[in-house]
């Protein structure tokens, strides 16, 4: 297989139990460069657990997560050391939390939030860091005169956009998003989705987006995985699964959407 054909990340046979409950049961999936995969399902279906397993934040009871590193070597994330994992997170990955305060440093300025990520990958020139940070804040539609304010003073939508800027400034190859639009007003959601759509296609990122909102999945992703009780019960093209759902549970999810 050529590099373009082999997946960036490939999970095989992932299992995770919390006590008696199977949070993740025999999940296998692939993600390629430039592809957005949505993981959908109701609360408690195991979406976030799966995201944490894929991003090596939770150790599986069984299974592997193979990741093709920048040097072309494929490694099993389960066997990576702590330092290597942290290096991946700093350089190659982004992680957008539903609660922006988990992904931001709330006590430092917006500019520093973005600049800090750059310094973590070796940027040292203050002027350049400042310039890049300002550029990124403009791309996520944050006014220049707010760059020195801390995210504490930001609205929910602004915090989320800042979190995205902080994640993307280091040009990651893979971004994990956990309910990125959760808890935001619909108008703010639409703006954020539009922004994410543009950035993902412009930067050719791979992204894995956990959401319970099928509209978000339709807008952002090309492929979808439907989860129920820790299992992936249906996968396919996003528009195919949403327009022609096969499994009873997927049909229930799709038919439960309230039209505006």
């Amino acid at each position: 297989m050529t590099a373009a054909e082999s997946p960036l990340l490939a999970a095989r046979g992932l299992f995770k139990r919390f006590g008696a409950r199977a949070a993740c049961h025999d999940v296998s999936l692939d993600i390629h460069e430039g592809e957005v995969l949505a993981i959908v399902g109701e609360s408690g279906s195991g979406k976030t657990t799966l995201l944490r397993l894929l991003s090596a934040q939770t150790e599986p009871d069984a299974g592997t997560v193979l990741y093709r590193m920048r040097d072309g070597v494929t490694r099993d994330l389960v066997t990576l050391g702590e330092a290597e994992r942290r290096f991946l997170f700093r350089t190659d990955w982004g992680y957008v939390h539903q609660d922006a305060s988990l992904g931001l440093r709330m006590g430092v300025s917006a500019g520093a939030n973005v600049g800090e990520r750059m310094m973590a990958v070796g940027a040292r020139h203050y002027g350049q860091i400042r310039e890049t940070a300002t550029g990124w804040l403009a791309r996520v539609e944050i006014d220049q005169d707010r760059i020195d304010d801390t995210p504490r003073t930001y609205s929910g939508g602004m915090r989320q956009r800042l979190q995205i800027a902080r994640n993307l400034v280091t040009k990651p190859r893979l971004v994990f998003m956990d309910e990125p639009t959760g808890g935001l007003d619909v108008s703010v959601q639409a703006r954020l989705l539009d922004l994410m759509r543009g950035l993902v296609s412009e930067l050719g990122l791979a992204a894995i987006v956990v959401t319970h909102d099928l509209g978000v999945a339709r807008l952002l992703s090309q492929r979808i995985a439907v989860m129920k009780e820790g299992r992936v019960i249906e996968t396919g093209l996003t528009d195919q699964v949403l327009d022609d759902p096969r499994e009873p549970y997927t049909q229930l999810l799709v038919s439960s959407i309230l039209p505006p």
Partner: protein
């Protein structure tokens, strides 16, 4: 040599929430379309014409049969292709004008039209320029170009949808009632655009209830009633 071949295509919906009722749609659909030709699907509403187009585009799944897209030197079977192959086909081989525009919030009409080109590597400015030319041909007033189409009239939305589907040059074009909400002037414009596509070698599968449009574009009428599911 056909650009598209359907062979024994069969589709049934199973409605699990309604006690597992099975709704057979079509059975054994078989026809082929050559480059530069237009096949119009005929038959009354509800007989499965749109479902056939959706299966060719990979939007609906196909329960049995083959849908062969002859792209480059290979034939890809949409009915069994992996999602990534279908996405690749949509990017280089198949264009689809659905019956209704699915508008994305906040995206300007001109960008909705330019998007398929941008997605396949055309620079945004160049793509917008070509989108503008096509919007002009389709009589979309310039002040609307920068607005999201969600608030446009039915006919305007339909023309945005047509522009989006016609802009990229793909060997296969699927048209679902492209002129249903258009006035006579714009029907003629769309008819001329279809004729141009055929001249350039595009294989077209269309649904067109309007008799004048149908007569103008069809090289063959495929009677879908023949494939009614038993």
């Amino acid at each position: 040599m056909p650009a598209l071949t359907l062979d024994g295509v069969t589709k049934t919906f199973t409605m699990h929430l309604q006690g597992g009722i099975r709704l057979p749609v079509v059975s054994g659909v078989s026809f082929a379309v050559n480059a530069g030709a237009c096949a119009v699907l005929g038959g009354p509403s509800g007989i499965g014409k749109s479902s056939i187009l959706k299966m060719i585009f990979g939007n609906y799944r196909c329960d049995a049969g083959r849908i062969l897209v002859h792209a480059d030197d290979e034939a890809i079977d949409v009915a069994t292709a992996q999602p990534r192959r279908i996405l690749a086909l949509r990017n280089r081989a198949i264009s689809y004008v659905s019956q209704f525009l699915r508008a994305v919030p906040r995206v300007a009409a001109i960008d909705v039209v330019a998007e398929p080109l941008v997605a396949t590597g055309t620079k945004p400015d160049a793509a917008r320029e070509r989108a503008a030319a096509l919007l002009t041909v389709l009589n979309i007033p310039k002040p609307l170009w920068g607005l999201p189409p969600a608030t446009f009239s039915g006919g305007e939305q339909q023309r945005i949808n047509i522009a989006r589907g016609f802009l990229p040059e793909r060997p296969i074009l699927l048209l679902d009632e492209p002129t249903a909400s258009l006035d006579a002037t714009n029907r003629a414009v769309v008819g001329a655009l279809i004729a141009e596509k055929k001249k350039r070698g595009t294989a077209i599968v269309a649904i067109a209830h309007d008799e004048d449009v149908r007569n103008a574009i069809a090289d063959e009428i495929v009677d879908v009633g023949r494939f009614a599911a038993k």
